[in-house]
Amino acid sequence: MPKVAVLGAGLTRFMRRSLETGRELCWEAASAALREADLTLADIDCVVMGTAPDAFDGVHMKGEYLLDGCGAKGKPYTRVYVGGGSGVFAPIAGWYHLASGAFRTCLVMAEEKMSPTQPHPQGAFNAIYDQFTERPLGVNLLWIFSLEQMRYMQTYGIPMESIAKVAVKNKRNAKDHPSAQLGGDFTVEQIVNAEIMAYPVTRLMVSPVTDGAGAMVLCNEDFAKKKGGKHVWVDGVGWNLDTSYWTNRDLAYPQYVENAAKMAYKMAGIKNPREEIHVAEPYDPFCYKELHHLEGLQLAGKGEAPKLLEKGFWDRDTTTGIPSSPSGGLLGVGNPIAAAGIMKVAEIFWQLKGTAGARQIRRTAKRGLAQAWGDLMQVGTVVVLGT
């Protein structure tokens, strides 16, 4: 498989509502990634953009709207979309642009400006439900998550307190992330006893509405060698989608995440992920999702991730476990949907490079993964990076 390297990454602040337009946010993130890569736009051969529903920004053909901020004028430019999975899918698409041999360099962008949607961006999600069999029931987005969390908890007998500890960990980690919207110290009781949104999901188990953008610069092996120095490489990528008949699925286990992870592990030559993955950024738009995903990623057995959480296995300062969401995740840094996914890939890049600053994990890490999830709870997207 042709080798692809990561040269730089950039993020904006993650904010409930930004003054900047999506286009301006993209420009800021792209500029930051080019600065770290020590390149200019003239060095970029193609641009890939990941962004979620047009309804958030209120602009149809959002990819085209954002194009100028993405540095894509006059370049091969593609928007990719797999709902919430888009932020990790964008670097995957960047990878195959380069692995195809057609380009030397690719600027990978992700953006979400959710704040324009009134009265609340949740409304824009209603159209993901089936228009005949579901929407007439008066659906809302939180239902699918609360239904999945309940199934997960009752299948394995997981208490609320165990689920809540994901928010405690991630919001604490986010205190050290400069982009973070919701970092802070919380107790398990505060998370469990927060306002009930859709039981068992409480307000503090939900990631926020966020505006933000992120960017990464990828290049092929020749370009990386000419650039010199040590690089972080894309060792494996994987993606997979389950049926859209979500009420026919096993809601306690994300099989599609397992399929995506196995595709990425195979490409990376990973046989025992629990030994060979040293840091992870699983998608955590809701507390239970991080645990769900750690199991799908084969980093924990089915129903085992909450027990490992209790033991500190996923803590950022662990020396024997696997730090999970050292960035602070979507629960702490914020959830500008696609931008949150690329934030996770960027975190693994910085962790492996050793430049994560106050967030740097204590154990040695040669390999890490980022994963996102979305559409109608049916897509897993996985990127494995290595040094």
Partner: protein, 172 residues
């Protein structure tokens, strides 16, 4: 490494006070969806007080919501099957939130219900009722696996919609 961070965070006050100028746009989008072959028949069944599924003779699965093709065997499936209007709770929630994030005083109880007569794991989304009006009450009466039955609208009021079933209630 995050060396320079950009982005200007606004507060709600900035919008209301006119410190930041905003432009509003209210799109009017109305849609009329054609039901398709499978769901058209399913909706007709609801009007007649029946839950209909489709069976694939190759894999043997009976599917609800119905579809005219089997996505696993990837062939046209074979027959309509009238299912029972009973089933078991696959999962449920006690929801205090409306679509616009406004709050409800009395919760709704959405649930995935595996329909009797369909293959294991074949559920539909619907609402539970007669199960209490607080998290505590609902959690005492409903669990994964609870047996439930559809409560239908009177025949004259049915219009061929998923809401022809008002809700599901526990059998016992």
């Amino acid at each position: 490494m995050i060396s320079e961070l950009r982005g200007t965070s606004l507060r709600e006050e900035d919008i209301g006070s006119g410190n930041v100028l905003t432009t509003e746009w209210r799109p009017k989008l109305d849609f009329a969806f054609d039901p398709g072959v499978a769901i058209g028949q399913f909706l007709q069944g609801l009007k007649e007080g029946k839950l209909l599924g489709r069976r694939c003779h190759q894999c043997g699965r009976t599917m609800i919501p119905p579809r005219m093709f089997c996505e696993l065997c990837f062939r046209r499936n074979d027959e309509w099957v009238e299912l029972k209007d009973t089933g078991r709770v696959n999962t449920f929630s006690v929801s205090y939130v409306n679509w616009d994030a406004s709050r409800r005083e009395k919760p709704q109880v959405p649930a995935v219900i595996e329909i009797d007569g369909a293959s294991p794991g074949m559920g539909i989304l619907h609402l539970l009722s007669e199960v209490g009006e607080s998290v505590k009450e609902v959690m005492a009466r409903v669990k994964v696996g609870t047996a439930v039955q559809a409560v239908w609208k009177p025949a004259a009021q049915r219009e061929g919609s998923i809401t022809d079933i008002l809700y599901f209630r526990p059998l016992s």
